[in-house]
Amino acid sequence: MMRSFEPIVIPIAALLVSLLMFGIFITAAGADALGVFESMYRGAFGTWFSWQNTLVRAAPLMLTALCTALPARIGLIIIGGEGAVVVGGMTAALTGIVLTHASPIVVLTAMAFMGMTTGGLWIAAISALRHYRGVNETISSLLLNYIAIAIMNFLVFGPLRDPETLNKPSTYHIGEANMLTEMGSTSIHWGFGLGVIACVALWVLMRHTPFGFAVDIAGGNVRAAKLSGLPVTRLMIITSLLAGAAAGLAGMIEVAAVHGRANSSLNANYGYEGILVAFIARHNPLAIIPVAILFGGIRASSGLLQRDHDLPDASSLVLQGIIFIVILASETLYGRFSWLRAKEKTA
């Protein structure tokens, strides 16, 4: 098998170029770029405390990135992670509220199951529409994000609202005893562990099983896949089910480990950032883990940037936008550096 360092070297170079461009941008906006980078590092990876903050934020990002990465492997560009997080979190919260007096392990299992099922069906519906009706999956997944948020607002402002939640209308609490706990003596909740497990498991599925091989063939050339007798429709639907289940689990984790209720914190852009993480990781589930940690770091440090440098909270959005553009532009560089490949042959 021909291997190359390109998928590692080019994204890292692109990240550095984007940081440089962001530095120029904030310098033009009147900030001290070096100080900003220093704060970003401190807020993200400087201390054990900031590391824990970063990893907690990386957990949902890993799962929402899977929601874009898996369908991308079969050729679908789905950006509906945000909606799947919202519906997954919403049904998980409902399950928790209904079962609140059962034993915590039952409650959490049921919540995860329900969150993953609804999230999975949500995304599978998108690829079913694509397959059976020819509806563009990118647009329909984005529309469904807005629909999911509207449904959630309807429920938390109306029938499911806990009257005690005044400034941020939310559902009732699932019960403190039922919350997802931290791992060992850290302040990192088990959501991070679940995210890593999901990434590794799906990497094994995609890279080391006939299923993953079939998905990659269908993603490369649908006609060839059909001619060789692969059940392309079923592959598409199952991949999307898994993708949506990952994002639904992210919603369940946000409810069960962080908020205890479903509310507008569910649509905190995790779904949209996941798209970016997936593209930088080149839709490789294993590569998603480090990239998600990096972006969890950007998220964790954004408070520090606002406090110490008086930068608006949108600066992390600008940074993400720049990174996304540069990463996409760098796609055109693949295959142009023969020396990155030659190295591998001697090794």
């Binding site: 009706r133 563009n136 990118t138 529309l143 629909i147 509207a150 402002f157 996304f324 796609e331 693949y334």
Partner: protein, 308 residues
Amino acid sequence: MNETEFSLLNILIAVIGGAIRVGTPFLFVSLGECLTERSGRINLGLEGTLMMGAMTGYGASYLSGSPWLGVMAAGMTGVILGGVHALLCQQQKVNDIAVGIALMLLGTGLAFFLGKPLIQPTAAHLPSLHLGSWSDSPVIQAALDINVLFVIGVLLAPAMAWFFRYSRWGLYVRTVGESADAARAMGLNVNRVRMYSTMAGGFLAGVGGSFLSLYYPGGWSEGLSSGQGLMAVALVIFARWNPVYCLYASLLFGAAATLGPTLQSIGMTWGYYLFHAAPYVLTLIIMITTSSSTRLLSGMPGQLSNVK
């Protein structure tokens, strides 16, 4: 009895007025997207262009005191963003859908970042034509305040249709959109035609954005756009890449989006948050009913294999 009929008429007029108000940004963005897609490329980044247009339009109007300068500034921002999109897409192996998503993110982020100081001040707004002055009813008067940009948009739609059908440049755009190979054989520079189309499309989307901040809802805030730029892309499919149909479709979408607030104003508050979903549900239903998995859509430019 007579009174309820009158109020029904009022609701109808309010919905029509709302359709025009809410539909105008849809109209401009969809005309811009229509032009871009006819050249064979999809620009999903128009959502970001819309936000940047709203922000720069508001800023320019505030600084210069002239809303029309604001509209021009918004259009020029759109031209720049369209140029970036075209430049990136003409590189090998770069996917135009992904570039669109990235520009959506970047445009929104930049607009929020640079627009922070614009949340407080008030800028000069665009003027409107008072077509309701014949009536004594303030409801009708308010509903029939037609903004000038809508009038321009209404004229622009048939003009663009004429451009596609009868002008030399319209033929270039259509040829490039139908078959890049045929266009190359004719000696056309495919990338250049697409770049101009994307830039012009960006101009229109930017103008649509300036409408949001300079007329309705008016003012600059981060919640100004909620997917209008993207819905416009779906709307172009629904309109079968025909500029005149884009006009009708925009009004339909405007009416759907204005339904919730109108019902709330007459006291129907039950499903207020659900009605927020109405335009998105409508878009989705339209896409489901009008698309097909087996045949190509009529009117679809040949190079747009991706939009199906």
